[in-house]
């Protein structure tokens, strides 16, 4: 990876582990400037409200729709490099989290989202919605069949391009396990200039957002394979470390 650093102002306010979670204010990502809170987060006890959560109930009512190459319902198949994307959802102790809803969304192969606000001239694909969902199985494993998303330009800075990524949203078993994040692909040459990726504070934590190419996941004559595990806070979660400077 290009080790060039983005020069930016980094805010003090962080929710959770400062080695893992990005600061709210990361000025190189311009949209943080008016939206990042400026006052210390409040340390509160973990009550039943935090130690329960909607994941259990939502999982029970969701149908599976994990084939993004065909779920547009057109009868046609999405254009692009087919990939199988699989991995485990674990808690901090390594225990698998079964029956957990995983919602994903992404661009098509040309880097275009099917969204009215995405108007850059990458072609749309009538056979690709770019959204899917799956439940983890008893071993905590999710599996999607999709196409590899493309990179796309955005207006954050001159000639800014987002590295190819897939958005992930997970509930997990409690309110504490809620996570929305993005999964990236190995060796992407665009990481060095992407403030969203680089807002993750440490190299180890950034690497954990990058999937691994895994030939054992591929299907011959059909699809390539990537593996990406996700670690959520545990069932026995303790409060986050006291926020610095939060008297």
């Amino acid at each position: 990876m290009n080790q060039q650093q983005i020069q930016t102002t980094i805010g003090e306010i962080v929710r959770g582990d400062r080695e893992v979670f990005p600061p709210y204010l990361y000025e190189a990502y311009q949209s943080t400037r008016r939206r990042a809170p400026q006052l210390a987060l409040i340390n509160v006890p973990l009550t039943l409200s935090e130690l329960t959560g909607p994941g259990h109930a939502i999982s029970a009512i969701t149908s599976e729709d994990a084939d993004l190459t065909r779920n547009a319902g057109t009868g046609g198949e999405a254009v692009g490099q087919r990939i199988i994307l699989t991995g485990r959802v674990l808690d901090e102790s390594g225990a698998p989290l079964p029956n957990t809803l995983v919602e994903i969304w992404q661009t098509n192969a040309s880097g275009r989202y099917l969204h009215k606000r995405d108007q850059w001239p990458g072609p749309l694909d009538p056979n690709f919605l770019g959204m899917g969902r799956a439940l983890t199985n008893a071993e905590g494993v999710y599996r999607f069949l999709t196409i590899r998303p493309g990179a796309y330009p955005w207006k954050n800075h001159p000639n800014a391009w987002r590295p190819a990524h897939i958005h992930f949203s997970l509930f997990g078993p409690t309110s504490l396990t809620r996570l929305v994040t993005q999964m990236y692909f190995p060796d992407d040459p665009l990481f060095f200039q992407d403030p969203i990726f680089r807002s993750i504070p440490t190299e180890r934590a950034r690497q954990s957002l990058i999937a691994t190419y895994d030939h054992s996941i591929t299907e011959p004559e059909w699809a390539l394979g990537y593996r990406w595990d996700i670690v959520l806070r545990g069932a026995n979660a303790t409060p986050f470390e006291k926020a610095e400077g939060n008297a």
Binding site: V14, Y24, R34, V44, P45, S49, T52, H56
Partner: protein, 193 residues
């Protein structure tokens, strides 16, 4: 116990409605005609540091039923479950930054064996420009038990009002208004959880 590093958070970006707000994924209406409890609408705006509405935010809520019981295996209280209530909501914001939920006022859930919490909703906010989600609570301004709520008392007194939803009645419907201010004057108190 070995401890794996957690997976970091990233913004939902500007296009999340594609994956998170398609019709079957929106849950603005939590109560059906059989649900027990006092019908309320909870609504408000998400505002940025310049007071500008945030049109690309998502607000999720989680709450107990009218009897004060969460629909979750970790809540083993004697209060009954309500088969007509899950307690989970998800709303996008519109061009004016507005979100809304039609729900019921939650009952009081336990804080510990001795005391109960004041009625509240757990609120989670996502948006373009939020690299990590924000967590807070909605309390009800006309609720006497607020003064004994341990979590609310953790919030510095000067900021406590930012967690109080204000009651009004509109065409016979009880409406609690709760604006979420991401930054600046009257910034909502967010929690480190």
């Amino acid at each position: 116990m070995s401890s794996l590093p957690l997976t970091g958070s990233q913004t939902v970006g500007p296009f999340f409605s594609l994956g998170l707000l398609y019709p079957a994924a929106q849950r603005n209406v939590l109560a059906n005609p059989q649900t027990a409890g006092e019908r309320i609408r909870v609504e408000g705006r998400v505002l940025d540091g310049a007071g500008v509405p945030v049109p690309d935010a998502m607000v999720e809520i989680w709450q107990a039923n009218a009897h004060g019981r969460y629909n979750h295996p970790a809540d083993q209280s004697e209060a009954p479950l309500d088969p007509d209530f899950t307690g989970s909501g998800r709303s996008g914001t519109d061009e004016e930054g507005r979100y809304w939920f039609d729900t019921i006022k939650p009952g009081r859930v336990a804080f510990n064996d001795q005391i109960k919490q004041a009625p509240h909703l757990t609120v989670t906010i996502f948006a373009r420009g939020l690299l990590n989600h924000l967590v807070t609570r909605v309390y009800f301004v006309d609720e006497p038990s607020n003064v004994e709520d341990v979590t609310l008392q953790c919030v510095p007194e000067a900021r406590r009002a930012t967690l109080l939803a204000h009651r009004e009645t509109r065409e016979g419907v009880t409406v609690y208004r709760f604006d979420i201010v991401l930054q600046g004057v009257n910034e909502t108190a967010f929690f480190n959880v």
